[in-house]
Symmetry: C2
Subunit: 411 residues, 2 copies
């Protein structure tokens, strides 16, 4: 007798960022070098100040308090203080990456059958956590032509329904690289306050803002303490994705109390990560400034290089380390597969993330891909050269398949 | 306007193991030494073979594959092989502790509104994960007088309903220390097969079996590959609770595939933990044998000491490192509070976990506490002396309060 798994197990979305990984593995087995622009895994070193703390770990690697060790939570609070944000220990739960903070936030904000509004395209894994929590994601579409900025309030509010319990903003945004202006964040906060909604703000790219922008946080908003729930992570800020350490921060006591009980259920956040993470106290503001400068240089390089590829459309992103690029192809996933399965330039190819999976509205994003600038400038230059070559080869092939050399697939 | 959190957030259970922690902290601030018998945090050192791997971590602490690093999964498979269990890499998902394996298993086995049957008393955090997954726990009551062994099949089946999707067995059992006999496990497996249910077996105490018993696993059952889902963890086996590393193991492909998609949603299991955990390959069978011998000695000591306290009832547990003891008190939680708030012997007191929270049936377990033998024998001896003194003092106080020196609170 074959045993049926749950419907939610069957419907759990596969990661659109990782689902082409087997094709990349095949390419590597064929000896092809693969430039990974598909995943937000930077090549920048995790600070030595963190890694060296692992040289002396306790002899018993014991449970930590469910909300995090005193040492790590104090380091986090010191970090917020350095940004002018007043956060107390009872407003913080250390979590297993930003991922767990998102899950706890969703579970605490909404019951099964509820709805969460968010701009699309959005970080695809929100879908996974919404599926676990039994929630529907209701998108507010944003467009590359507007730099993926938010529509006016009246349009934004159209996405709300009687089932809406929260809004998610990812700021700076993954996948678009958009940094919402203060008036945009204020607008969404006011919608939340007026309509009795939580505002979950995913700020894991907080420092990565360019062109003279300063790191901002929804924790600095005045008058929205009940609404605001911030998701944080050490992954991107300290190039420490693998340690899985983040935080949930809110001044809403009932919400933090519920999240703490969830945290007790899973006992502790990762302990070795907290030992390493506490090393953030040894890093001055020059650390973040240096990292931001590095990414800004990469963004500039990639922006110029992408603009130089015929019929590719991008706006210059303001933060994070992603572009959503519109390509002259019908199906971004087919193109991404082509790059991995059929194309190589001087023995190398490139992996990008098809953007369709970042949209909830069917059909949107089919001709877009997300590109992460997580390689050094030399590799990035080489990767874009491969991308440009691959795109030309793909268009030639498609054009031939469709029976005419001049047919434009996308106007 | 006060913003209401979700019903599930409000109803999320607090940990009965950790909820008295503030009282223990107060006692420590008053200068009282607290022997912690409330939580399964052993004092045994995490193996050096694991800790020393942290001396050389990569410069970039990157995401690992969602199902775990090749190195760690290979180490796990080698470990299963050493027990005669054939497990392949595509049957394993490395998880953030056994905790996450439980959550993934529940989500994949049952949809919201479903029911999971399990013997009570049970590991309290199953309640937290059931609450997250929107599931009800339906208990099969087991009794101290039977050593908390399972009832006969007919009685066991009475707990099943049309909504039942899975059975959870924790074997060796937390909190009772019971090791189910092969015929008991077989009976439950047959019930699951006959009724189309998943059998989730939590084996995180697998090695800790005494009196000559051998470590066993439901993975060795023949004919139940579709049903069996094993939850595993390094926490207890290697005294590495804080690293948060475990695994979900099943030969049911659809289930593992669903769990993998959940795992992709949260990106990776903790990376530093996997580096340390891979050190298990350096530990021969003598490691587990030594740890088991140590716990067996503690069990023997504690059993004799508890039996010597008037009116305390325990059966000798067969595995894990817990006792559920029936005490001559009406309310185990009031007694546990008394120990922390009012009692000390030679400047020390003891913390135990009230057992009521380990039962789903209201009223059961009120006069029971869970005692973990996670201290060395000298401390354990001292702790039981405090427990005995505290119990006498509490009974005297209660007896006075109730107006008669001879009144027995519990027969």
């Amino acid at each position: 007798m074959s045993l049926e798994i749950s419907k939610r197990g069957k419907n759990m979305p596969a990661s659109p960022i990782r689902k082409l990984t087997p094709l990349a593995d095949d390419a590597k087995r064929r000896g092809v070098k693969v430039y990974h622009l598909n995943i937000g895994q930077p090549d920048i070193e995790t600070p030595l100040a963190m890694r060296q703390r692992l040289a002396a770990v306790p002899n018993v690697l014991a449970y930590s308090p469910s909300a995090g060790t005193h040492e790590f939570v104090a380091a986090l609070i010191g970090y917020y203080e350095s940004l002018g944000l007043e956060v107390t220990a009872d407003q913080v739960i250390a979590t297993t990456g930003g991922s767990e903070a998102i899950l706890f936030a969703l579970l605490a904000c909404a019951d099964e059958g509820g709805e969460v509004v968010l701009p699309e395209p959005f970080y695809t894994n929100y879908s996974s956590f919404a599926a676990i929590a039994g929630l529907t994601l209701a998108p507010v579409t944003t467009r590359g032509d507007d730099g993926f900025h938010l529509p006016a309030r009246a349009l934004f509010e159209k996405a709300l329904s009687s089932r809406t319990r929260a809004v998610i903003l990812c700021n700076p945004n993954n996948p678009t690289g958009t940094v919402y202006r203060p008036d945009e964040v204020q607008m969404v906060a006011e919608v939340c306050r007026d309509r009795g909604l939580f505002l979950i703000v995913d700020e894991v790219y907080r420092e990565l803002v360019y062109d003279g922008r300063k790191p901002a946080s929804a924790l600095s908003l005045r008058g929205f303490d009940e609404n605001v729930v911030v998701v944080d992570s050490l992954s991107k800020r300290y190039s420490a994705c693998g340690i899985r350490l983040g935080a949930l921060v809110s001044r809403n006591r009932a919400l933090i109390d519920a999240a703490l009980r969830m945290a007790q259920g899973r006992l502790s956040p990762p302990g070795l990560a907290q030992i390493a993470g506490a090393g953030m106290t040894d890093l001055g503001p020059e650390y973040a400034a240096g990292v931001t400068r590095e990414y800004e240089g990469r963004r500039n390089l990639l922006y110029d290089a992408l603009c130089a590829i015929p019929d590719v459309f991008v706006r210059k992103p303001e933060g994070a380390f992603y572009f959503v690029a519109r390509l002259p192809v019908e199906d971004g996933e087919a193109f991404a597969r082509f790059l991995l399965e059929e194309y190589a330039l001087d023995g190398a190819t490139v992996m990008v993330a098809p953007a369709e999976g970042f949209y909830a509205t069917p059909g949107l994003g089919r001709n877009e891909v997300r590109i992460a600038y997580v390689l050094n400038q030399q590799d990035l230059r080489a990767a874009v050269r491969v991308l440009a070559g691959g795109l030309a080869a793909y268009r030639a092939k498609e054009s031939e398949r469709l029976g005419g050399p001049s047919r434009r697939l996308v106007s």
